[in-house]
Amino acid sequence: MTRDLRGRIHDANDVAWLVLMAATALAWWWGRAAQGRGDAVRIAMAGVVLTATFKVGVVGYQFMELKTAPRWLQLAFAAWLLGISAALVVIICG
């Protein structure tokens, strides 16, 4: 991942930042949808939580360098992230 997008993107960290900005915009959109009415609100709330989960995954994997960490640390982080995400979705949308 070097020297593309007119040479401005240098590595995976730049790509991760762009993805995180796009995910923040998506989360904002989910948030607006969650203020509505009907069954779509539950979907939007789940969307808010799952988008946050994705963003935390990107920060952990790329910025925190878990991608090069030992397997046990990767699994521990993934277990926490999936566990808290599932708990939040069940409580909020259940």
Binding site: N13, T68, A69, I91
Partner: protein, 194 residues
């Protein structure tokens, strides 16, 4: 030359930073997980109060603070990678930019709290605002500590040559800063967006 080679070896599979910082991360994740679940339960059990209170928050401030922390993490990640691959003391500018992002977050949060308190909204107003002030307050303490950590990281990165221990110091500080970042991602989602 040996020092550079030693530093470069750290890109191979390894625990980023000191093992102790990961014990701290684990403890903090447990505590904040309880906070997240409490907000989710409150959102379920007091839906009307939470929805009305959430509507009074300034979403623009929440989004701005999210962008500031994500950008701060980006600068830190770039700085650590640059210092490790081919160190130059000038790469400390990445950590300076991250510190500015952190200070921007603190100023933004101070403004947000100030307007709420001026409007008579305090932690005693209702459960939503109790969670809002207490949990974002605890997170704000993390941000302030993180800024101090980044000042140390910036100082270390200005050395003409980095040995393996220096690189480990950069990674340890970076790990703490990224923790601060992703705790905010969940707080932002639960307090501002639901």
């Amino acid at each position: 030359m040996e020092r550079v080679a030693a530093a470069r070896q750290d890109v191979r599979p390894h625990v980023p930073g000191e093992i102790g910082i990961w014990a701290f991360v684990a403890g903090d994740l447990i505590v904040f997980s309880v906070f997240f679940v409490l907000v989710a339960i409150g959102n379920r059990d007091e839906a009307e109060v939470f929805t009305r209170s959430r509507a009074s928050l300034d979403l623009g401030i929440g989004v701005a603070n999210t962008v500031l922390l994500l950008s701060g993490s980006w600068f830190v990640a770039r700085g650590v990678a640059r210092c490790r691959e081919a160190h130059d003391p000038r790469f400390s500018r990445y950590f300076s930019l991250a510190i500015l992002c952190g200070l921007g977050f603190v100023a933004n949060k101070g403004f947000e709290w100030g307007t709420k308190i001026a409007a008579g909204i305090t932690p005693q107003t209702n459960d939503f605002y109790m969670y809002f002030f207490v949990f974002t307050g605890i997170h704000l303490v993390h941000v302030l500590i993180g800024i101090g950590v980044l000042l140390l990281v910036r100082h270390t990165s200005r050395r003409p040559v980095l040995d393996r221990r220096d690189v480990r110091t950069l990674e340890t500080g970076a790990t703490f800063w990224h923790l601060v970042d992703f705790l905010w991602i969940f707080l932002f989602a639960l307090l501002y967006l639901l």
